[in-house]
Symmetry: C2
Subunit: 549 residues, 2 copies
Amino acid sequence: MCHTVPVDSLDHLVRCGWTPDGAADAHLPAPALRWLRGKTGLTEKSTPVAPDSALPVGESALPDNVRAELAAVVGPERVLVSRADRLGRAGGLSYVDLLRHRGAGELAVPDAVVVPGSPEEVQRVVEVCAAHGVAIVPFGGGTSVVGGVDAVRGGRPAVVVLDLMRLNKLVSVDAESQLAVLQAGVVAPEAEKLLLPHGFTLGHVPQSFERATIGGFAATRSSGQASAGYGRFEDMVEGVRLATPRGEWRLGVAPASAAGPDLRQLVVGSEGTLGVITEVTVRVRPVPTVRRYEGYVLDGWNSGADAVRALAQGRVLADVTRLSDPTETEVALRLSSGWTAAALRRFLAFVGHTEPCLLILGWEDTSKRRLRDRRKATLRALRGFGALRLGRSTGEKWRHGRFAGPRQRDALMDIGVCVETLETATHWSRLSELRSAVRDALTTTLTAPGRSPVVACHISHAYETGASLYFTVLVPRTDDDPETQWRQAKAAACEAINPLGTITHHHAVGVDHAPYLGAEIGSLGVEVLRSVKSVLDPAGVMNPGKLVP
Amino acid sequence: MCHTVPVDSLDHLVRCGWTPDGAADAHLPAPALRWLRGKTGLTEKSTPVAPDSALPVGESALPDNVRAELAAVVGPERVLVSRADRLGRAGGLSYVDLLRHRGAGELAVPDAVVVPGSPEEVQRVVEVCAAHGVAIVPFGGGTSVVGGVDAVRGGRPAVVVLDLMRLNKLVSVDAESQLAVLQAGVVAPEAEKLLLPHGFTLGHVPQSFERATIGGFAATRSSGQASAGYGRFEDMVEGVRLATPRGEWRLGVAPASAAGPDLRQLVVGSEGTLGVITEVTVRVRPVPTVRRYEGYVLDGWNSGADAVRALAQGRVLADVTRLSDPTETEVALRLSSGWTAAALRRFLAFVGHTEPCLLILGWEDTSKRRLRDRRKATLRALRGFGALRLGRSTGEKWRHGRFAGPRQRDALMDIGVCVETLETATHWSRLSELRSAVRDALTTTLTAPGRSPVVACHISHAYETGASLYFTVLVPRTDDDPETQWRQAKAAACEAINPLGTITHHHAVGVDHAPYLGAEIGSLGVEVLRSVKSVLDPAGVMNPGKLVP
């Protein structure tokens, strides 16, 4: 099921599943499993795991002359056409992707994987493919959960994955301006390692942190768990270098400008449809030396959301501010700690809350005094909302398990659970309505005789004017067509979101959200995107089928 | 020279000069004048002031059928073709515009002024003009200093100014989300008046505050004096409503989104070339109840810039943070207070500084404690830079005179001074180089026998990664061709800026910066802008000659 891709030094990337070999947190504690059975009707039929050899992979359709031209650019050993290499870059890591890799559903497998080693080589690869009308899928960590790296041919004779793993360098650091230039293929932990000797951090920590890349963050407008403190990734991007079929495009000369529309904001979020991001100039900050994470409990969703709104509008958000609804609070306690029902009842009785909502607050800073002052300001604004302090152990527990969510998906899928997430954002005045609408849509479509979904939700990103909502769904999968089971639920959720909020707050559009983009940006917006694409990618080879409906 | 336009309630707008009648701060104190004479070689030949009747204004070329169609939309009394009405919207308020209104140089006078009363009427006006190929110049406060509202026909048979003064309403307030919808023609002081009963403020205070409009702020990516605290205007824009020749385009459903490129950032900064912004959804904040402004002096530009960088990178900027270089510090003291040379010498000796740089810090907040805490944090970061405290009177003096700069231009022009400003921004590591390059370019081109320019500079906007530089130039004007005198200096400054920073930090592109945009965003960037325009404005009638070279 998993393909290790031993190209250069990045063989720690285990493709096609979230769980690195031997990761200890990938297993479900027995009490969690019991709870899940009782709650959802799970009968633990295991999801089939197809051996690699059973997955249908056609012959590579890459014409020999194109292959030769690509080999002339990157070297023949960097144009990979083996079954394993192609399977290893067949799609991202959504539930549907994982299902397909388990043999349920058809994989879109690229005809080849090209692994250039510099922005210049990327530029030439793009030009060779464009000249021959071969589709290109830029590929970083491969962590898309919206079909963003699906190897779609889009009517072209062949599609190659352009794997950026060799663009793994820190190009330069401008310490005075707190700026760093990073190549697009640098994975997030590696970026931190490279910046550390200079005393800097990026501070960008999405749940995909362990695998996702700098280029991917920029291409998808990523948002991290600490974005309240460090900003969304697009806020950090000061400059980009984009390899387009029309040539290289560089943007970004100042922290702010009134020189017309901000074209960087066109490239950021372009999801590989305009070109390949090869370098990103990012704002960096001194590495924090002190850190404090705490857990709190509020009673009821409305009370919790009001508290987070008070922090956001008072501009005293902790760097990490994350509010779980009662369902997610229960899931978190059950799945992560394996609490027994009795222990959970005791806990709820102890805190005297009927609808407990877990609030994680985390501060990171370069000075103890400053952290103390900021924490004080946050807690002052929290007064009056009845927040009960759980202490640092809860906060630290969350911090240590912050990347465990995706890993548990593999374990859950192993026992036949359909597990997926989706997210949106809207203004505060519509937040509760949006949460209800999405919950209802998911619950209605996924409920069946003997089968009940768990729909959990949290606010992970709060702004002065609104917040994001992140949903996690757990439901026993159907035997016959598990992909359709989820697709129907997802469609219902998207239709519920469209009139009330954005179709995606930080997962991007990809293939999955493309049908819903027009309702958000209007038909003129779609025409504008198409027109920009026609300038930069006249042959239409860049990441077909993504973003633009 | 000045035209009062008595349409509806906005007759307080006195066009074609910065000075409202009877404004007390428009006159130069005698000692300031003496200083200016000595410094620049000024001989006080007064700049000619042509009577309106002497200005060449051709017949309106607006075809009768178009005029009739426009009249059918807005009413015949809202299609203005009188000489005074057309002259009153002939260009903005740059030095060159003012020269032309004084009879030196040719004015681009619109063929008519149309004054619609609602977004729907704007939409229909745009469609009528597009259908007949008549150029449209959207016009708010008319405060452009880059030719942004010049009535350029751009090869069209006629050009109309679309005056937004009647779109002067607060449409709605969403107090929970701290959002307000304002019509585009609301002038900034009026916006504050409209928001006040709801307890909110926009906090956007550019030097053009008294006249500039919400739509103009959005169209030009405006930045205010308190943008360190409130953000640049584009940071406040959550949604826009744009009347394009292809129909209405609405954007903005959430505070943040990963649904592809941020198309709001295409509209923001589009300078009327894509359509007319009719409504803006803006983030608002509670009205501050406490305020503290102070003056400090630092010794030397480098020391001052380092101090401001420390505040920005420590994220403890005051809401207003403004550092003048030694020349501007002297100008400020001379022109605003009329200090004598002796008094100034005594002051400098007193502070023991050889190159004094004035630093204005201003905090505004809703709580005394919070303001105190924030001020403490700012001042803590300022330690070690040798800042000498001048106290609150200096700060308050600056605050009271914050809009006086443009007004003094009229008085200075009256006595034959060429007075203009320009601005840029770059990263910290290039800031001093950029300042020197622009100073040198301006000084070299403007120096002539018996004539020396004063080139003053300040940082008005600081970011973690860089800052803006704002230059003020004072030089005796030439007798024969004052427009060319300034154009040559401006061209030299722009050529100095191009390789080092952005061509404009908050004045926008307009006509004046269009030739330099390509060097900043690349030929692909220019093509992208043209292509977006071709989608929304296929007939090319929207604000010809602006933005795109």
